[in-house]
């Protein structure tokens, strides 16, 4: 994880350096700016969010050419550690900061401020001809681990379930495995597809398939695939994923994405946070395949 983060970080940094037309290392504080004082900001953390944060940083720097942002991955834990050690201005995290980390931060007299900036929601999709329109999380888990392999077992017709998964390199693969499959392995019979569009294409043509995609993609392909409503357990009502139900927490296959700062944000840090939460910032969230806040 560490090495991948490093690599992503290097790539992101190179990308940003290229975009700002500044050939030098973005962390180099000696670099003078063309128009006045260049201001620097480092953002470190979640690998899931690197793409989103880079998009924000890119747009932000276009708006504010005097700003110079460096985005690196490494994982949420690495980002929080960096925030505590004061080696990053902003930390991106796909989980909340935990008790232990808060204690560590307090020991260094740092009061982390949490900002929820987006949601990451996964929709389960089936072919429109499939009569099933809702499942419980437990049923989804059984289907994807291979314990349940016929639609009959979840209240559908007597047809085998064809499980479609993403390749193991996908962030969604890991999130789904951790939060829905309870860290169990995927069924060995699961077919894995190289991308979201291949997933949608197959579910649209093959009747008895089931797969998962980011909510944004499911909504774009609403005419080709059917999005299932998911119940947290057998006693709860099934909830259709939407921007509203994901933000309210009713739809459970979702997680908030955070930015953390040390203390209350000021100056450029505050400007960046405001941008991320602004209308254009949330539009970038939508384009990146995540769920914007309302």
């Amino acid at each position: 994880m560490k090495f991948r983060g490093l690599l992503l970080g290097v790539l992101a940094t190179a990308l940003l350096a290229g975009l700002t037309g500044c050939g030098n290392n973005t962390g180099d504080k000696q670099q003078p700016a063309a128009g006045g004082q260049t201001r620097y900001l480092t953002i470190k953390g979640s690998d899931t969010m690197v793409h989103l944060v880079s998009e924000w940083a890119e747009a932000f720097m276009q708006k504010l050419p005097a700003a110079d942002l460096s985005v690196t991955g490494g994982g949420s834990g690495t980002g929080i550690a960096a925030l505590i050690n004061n080696t990053t201005d902003i930390c991106a995290a796909s989980r909340s900061i935990n008790e232990k980390e808060i204690t560590l931060a307090a020991a260094k007299k740092i009061q982390p401020s949490e900002f929820k900036v987006a949601m990451d929601g996964i929709a389960l999709v089936v072919n429109p001809a499939n009569p099933i329109s809702q499942l419980t999380v437990e049923q989804v888990k059984k289907i994807f681990t291979g314990t349940v392999n016929n639609w009959k077992q979840v209240g559908g017709p007597d047809q085998p379930i064809l499980v479609l998964s993403r390749e193991s390199s996908s962030g969604t693969f890991v999130f789904f495995q951790e939060h829905v499959l309870d860290k169990q392995d995927y069924s060995r019979n699961a077919r894995s597809l190289p991308g979201t569009s291949a997933m949608i294409q197959n579910i649209a043509t093959d009747t008895w398939t089931i797969g998962y995609v980011g909510l944004g993609y499911a909504q774009q392909a609403a005419d080709k695939v059917k999005t299932l409503a998911i119940a947290a357990n057998a006693d709860q009502p099934a909830i259709t994923p939407s921007v509203a139900t994901i933000n309210s927490g009713e739809y459970v296959i979702a997680r908030p994405l955070f930015l953390y700062t040390a203390g209350e944000p000021t100056g450029l840090t505050k400007e960046f946070l405001d941008y991320a939460l602004s209308g254009p910032g949330q539009e970038i969230v939508r384009q990146a395949g995540y769920v914007p806040l309302q």
């Binding site: 390199s169 169990q184 392995d185 077919r191 894995s192 190289p194």
Partner: protein, 288 residues
Amino acid sequence: MGRDRAIQIGFVGIASSSILVVALIFLFLFKEAAPFAKHPGLAALLDNQWIPVSFQKERFGILPLAAGTVLVTAIAMLVSVPLSALAAVYIAEVAHPLEREILKPFIELLASIPSVVLGFFGLVVLAPLIKQFFGLNTGLNALTGGLLLALMAIPTIVSVSEDAINSVPATYRNGSMALGASRMQTIWRVVVPAALPGILGAVMLGTGRVIGETMAVLMVTGNAALITANPLSPVRTMTASIAAEMGEVPFGSIHYQALFWVGIVLLLITFGLNFIARRISVRYGMMR
């Protein structure tokens, strides 16, 4: 004289540069893969499952991937070899010159279609056809992959085999005819046996192409790492695994090293095939 020598050395250098490249590739592969031998040890590659990302236990058995490659390649060869060999014989021996002028360029055109385009064709056209024909629930399986790869192997096998048939000396044909053999007898008893080493070489080249193909199989074989001989079951090939997983794998991790081992096995297989192809052509070439 000194200049001749310099030029000669220059040409030798250029000619042997490809040997250097191959050696460097081997060296690089082994360098990246080596730490795997210490931990978790090469025995881990003999596992019967490939589960590179897991919260339980990561497993790096190359067997299911190799089985996938073998199954898809076998299907592709079973389809393409008879078709291509007959096509080559027809084009070289039977076809009217005008027919030849049309057939040859079109078959060769097939070779120039990018594999990702063929893969997309497989996903959108071939997979639904296979699904309907066999009454399956999905067309993502080894058979679809094999058929698509057969399409890619055909131009290679046809054009190399046709060259081999054309290079059979005219005296063979004349001699056969003079002894009263019919045209068909001449083709099947004299010309084809004489061209057989070349045709086998063409088959080996085609096999090499099929084994090394990535995008098309990645898109249509379903990519489930199963050990199976059922053409209608999904399979995961070695090349597809490398292509799908290498992009995001943590640099230097065990998974990364395991992918390099897959690459080494793949390289050894194609190396072996080339070696066999050479041996065949050398042996038969001498008999001729």
